[in-house]
C-alpha cells in the first residue's frame, strides 16, 4: 500500500515536472487536466472510454509477459481482431441475423483473430526460436499494412469515397449508456477481462503454470511441465485479449474501420501493464490513470498550443521515472530483459 501511494505521488510529480519543462503553468494546467478527466459526468465518461481498450489490451500484455513472452505485438493483435470482426461484419450487415447474435459473433471472431496473430508469434518462438520481441514487432507492421489494404480494397464501402469499411448498423454495436456520451457496454467487458485475468493467473492450474514458466522455466521443465505449450497458450490468450480490445473498440466506438483504427492502444498497453506491475488489479488503476491523462490532456490542449502529444511524453516520463527509481523493481528481471 505504501508503495502504491509512493507510486501515485511519483506520477503526480512526473506530470508536474513534464508540464513545467514545457513552460506551462503547473497548477493551472493540472487543474485543467483534472477537470477534463473528472470534472463532470461528460469528463468521467471520456476517461472511461479511453480506459476500456487500455485495460483489455494491458490484460493481454500481462498474461504474455508473466509467461516470459515479451509480447510487443498488442497493436497488431488489436488490429487483426478488428479486421476479423470486420470480415464477419461484411457478411452480417446485409443479413437478417439478430443484433445480439451478430455482435457476440463479431466479438468472438475478434478474439480468434487476435489469438491467431499472437499464437503465430508463440509458435515461431517455441518451434523456430524467433524472439517474441522481434516477431511481434514485425507482425505489427504486417497487421497495420493489411488493415490499410483491406479498408481500401476488399472491405471498402463501395458507396463511400474514402477508404473505410461499411458502417455497422446500431443493432450490432455495443449499446451506449447515454446517447449524449460515448461510454458503451464495453466497460463491462473490460471489467470482466480484468477479473478473469486475475482469476486465471492466481486461481487456475494453467495460470499457475504460466507464472511458473515466466519465473523459472527450468523448474517448470524439471517438474514435467511442457513449457513450450504454456508459452504458446499464453500468447494465444494474450493475442486473444488484444484482439478482443480491437473488437470492442470497433463495435463500441469506431463503427467502421479505416487506417486510423490503429491508434496505438496495443503499444500503450505495455507501459500501462508495466506501471501496474503486471498485476491485474494495479493494472486497472494504471489504465484509469492513463485514460484520465488522455481525457485531461484533451481539455488542456483546448487552452494551450501544445497538442495532446504532450501526454505521450508524460506517460513515457512516468514509466521511465518509476523504473529508474526502482519502484517497479519487484518485476526487475522482466524489465531488465525487455526494456
Amino acid at each position: 500500500m505504501i508503495r502504491a501511494l509512493a507510486i501515485a505521488a511519483g506520477l503526480v510529480l512526473s506530470l508536474a515536472v513534464t508540464l513545467a519543462v514545457f513552460g506551462l503553468p503547473v497548477g493551472h494546467s493540472m487543474a485543467l487536466m483534472a477537470q477534463g478527466a473528472f470534472g463532470d459526468k461528460l469528463a468521467i465518461t471520456r476517461t472511461l472510454v479511453k480506459t476500456i481498450p487500455l485495460t483489455i489490451t494491458a490484460m493481454g500484455i500481462i498474461v504474455a509477459w508473466r509467461a516470459g513472452m515479451y509480447n510487443i505485438g498488442g497493436e497488431g493483435q488489436f488490429v487483426s481482431g478488428g479486421l476479423a470482426a470486420a470480415v464477419l461484419a461484411n457478411w452480417l450487415i446485409p443479413s437478417s441475423i439478430p443484433g445480439w447474435m451478430g455482435l457476440t459473433a463479431m466479438l468472438i471472431v475478434s478474439v480468434v483473430g487476435g489469438a491467431a496473430w499472437g499464437g503465430l508469434a508463440g509458435w515461431l518462438k517455441t518451434k523456430r526460436g524467433v524472439e517474441v520481441v522481434i516477431s511481434t514487432i514485425l507482425l505489427n507492421f504486417v497487421a497495420i499494412q493489411l488493415l490499410a489494404w483491406v479498408v481500401a480494397g476488399p472491405l471498402k464501402d463501395p458507396a463511400g469515397g474514402v477508404p473505410l469499411t461499411l458502417q455497422l448498423p446500431d443493432r450490432v454495436m455495443l449499446p451506449k449508456f447515454d446517447p449524449q456520451t460515448d461510454l458503451h457496454f464495453g466497460i463491462f467487458i473490460a471489467a470482466l477481462a480484468a477479473v478473469l485475468t486475475y482469476a486465471f493467473l492466481y486461481f487456475t492450474r494453467a495460470g499457475f503454470r504460466t507464472r511458473l514458466v515466466g519465473e523459472g522455466e527450468r523448474a517448470a521443465r524439471a517438474n514435467r511441465i511442457d513449457a513450450d505449450r504454456v508459452k504458446i497458450g499464453a500468447m494465444l490468450i494474450s493475442g486473444g485479449l488484444c484482439g478482443l480490445a480491437g473488437g470492442v473498440e470497433y463495435t463500441g466506438i469506431a463503427g467502421q474501420l479505416g487506417t486510423s483504427f490503429a491508434q496505438g492502444w496495443g503499444f500503450l498497453a505495455i507501459p500501462v501493464a508495466l506501471l501496474g506491475g503486471l498485476h491485474p488489479f494495479w493494472v486497472v488503476l494504471s489504465a484509469l490513470y492513463f485514460g484520465a491523462l488522455f481525457a485531461g490532456s484533451r481539455n488542456l490542449a483546448g487552452f494551450t498550443e501544445q497538442g495532446t502529444t504532450i501526454i505521450y511524453i508524460i506517460q513515457a516520463a512516468a514509466v521511465l521515472g518509476l523504473i529508474a527509481i526502482g519502484a517497479l523493481s519487484f518485476k526487475k528481471p522482466i524489465l531488465k530483459e525487455a526494456v
Binding site: 492466481y202 486461481f203 499457475f208 523448474a219 524439471a222
Partner: protein, 483 residues
Amino acid sequence: MLTVSKITKSYGALRALDGVSAEFREGEIHAVLGENGAGKSTLMNLLAGFTKPDSGSIKLDGKELPVGRPFECKRLGIAMIHQHFTLVPGFTVEENLALAAISGPGPIDSRELSKPAMAQAEALGWPLDLAAKTGQLPVGAQQRIEILKALSGESRVIIFDEPTAVLSQGEVEDLFRVLRALKQDGKTVILIAHKLREVMAVADRVTVLRRGKVVGEAPIGQVTSDRLVEWMVGEIPPLLQKNADTKYREGLRATGLSAKGDRGERALHGIDLEARRGEILGIGGVDGNGQVELAEVFAGVRSYGGGLEWEGRPFDPDSRSPRIAYIPQDRQHDGLALGMSIEDNMLIEGHRRPSLTAGPFIRRQRLRQWSSGLIERFDIKTGSAKARADSLSGGNQQKLVVARALDEVPDLLVAVNPGRGLDVKATEYVHRKILDARNAGAAVVLVSTDLDEIGALATRTLYLSRGQIVEGEGAAALVGGAG
C-alpha cells in the same frame, strides 16, 4: 612460490574451505583435484583475489597477497584462465588482446597494445590471424587467446579452471604442450580438474580436495589413480552386490536404455537395471558420465530410447502410477522458482493433486493449509508462506524441495546429490527422509558423486562410466570413467 596456509571460507552454514594449506612451486604443474563442490573453485577465486578468506593467509614469495583485490593480484602476476572465456565474440583477435592491455582513458592503438601478446604467440609458435572475428574461431583457438592475454601481463602464476572441459581430444593434447612449455619457462601452473586421466598425464603434483578439506597431496609419481579416486570420493563401499533378495517388489526396469545429453551427445547407452520398491539403488561414478541424464530419464523430463517399464507396464511419467518425486541436483534452478513465493513453489507439486484442485481451478484455502502444514512438519525456517523462495537459506530451500516431493510417499523417488551444499544437520535430515520413503515402499534411485552419501543410504550400487554401467570392483571400476 605461492603458499596457502590454513585458509577457511564459509558461505552461510556451509564450509567451502576448511583449514586448507598448499604450496604451489615454480616450474611445476600442480593439479587441484576434487568433485564438484569440493572447494576447488573457491580456492582459486581466493588465489586470484576475487573473494576474501575468513581466516588464514596467502603469500607470494613470502609476501602477503592483497586478498579480495583481483586487479592487485593480477598486477602481482597471478592470472586466471576461466572456464567460460572472457572474450568479446564480436571483436577481432587483435582487439581482444588489446582489450586486456588497456590501462586508463585515452586513444587506443590496438596494434600497439596487442604487441606483448603477439610476442608471446610467436614464442609459443602459434600462428594468429589478428583480423579474425574471435567468436568464429574454434574453441581451442579462443582458449589460446585467453592464455595469451594472461601471459602478456608478465604473469608468474597461471591458474587454469577446468580448461579441458570445452576442448576436443586433439585440442587437449595441444593444451598440454602449452602447459609443459609454461612449466619449462619457470611459471607456476595450477590446473583445476576433475578428470583423473588428464591429471595423471600432465601434472607433476596433485592436491585433492573433498568437502573443503585437503585429503591428500603428493607428487604424481607416488600415487595411483585408485588412490586418487579414493581421496576424491571417499571410502569405496562394497560394489555391485547382486542382491537377489525377494523382499523387494518389482518397480522400475530399464532394458537397453539410451539417451542423449543437452548438446545431442550420446550420454547413455545399453543401460540395463532394476530399481525395486523398498530399496535404494545408488548410482555412483565420476560426475559427467551420464548420471544426471539417467536421473532425468527416470524423473520423466528427458526423452530416451530403449525399454523402460514400471511394474511391468510401459513407463509413463504423466500417469498416476508411478507417482514420481524428483529432487534435482540444482535446486536453485531446477528445483525452485526463486522469485515465487514458498506457497507457489509448493504448488509446483501441488497443482497436480486432486485434493488441492477442482477441475482447472486451484483451491487456495486448502493450498494455504497444506503449505503451512508442510512448513511446520518439515521445519522450514521462514516467517511466512508468502515469502519468496530466495529468502530461504540453502538448507531450507532443499527442505522445501524435499517437503514438496516426499509429503506423500511416492512410488519412485529420484534424488541427485541431495546432500550437496548442505551442512551436516540438514544433510542428515534429508537422508532420513529418503530412508523413510524407502521404508514406506518407494523405489529410490539415488544419484550421488559422494560415495559416503551412497554408502550411508544405498541398498546396492551401480557405477556409470561414459554412459554405461561398469562391472568391476573398487576404484578400478571408476578409473575407467575418470577420463
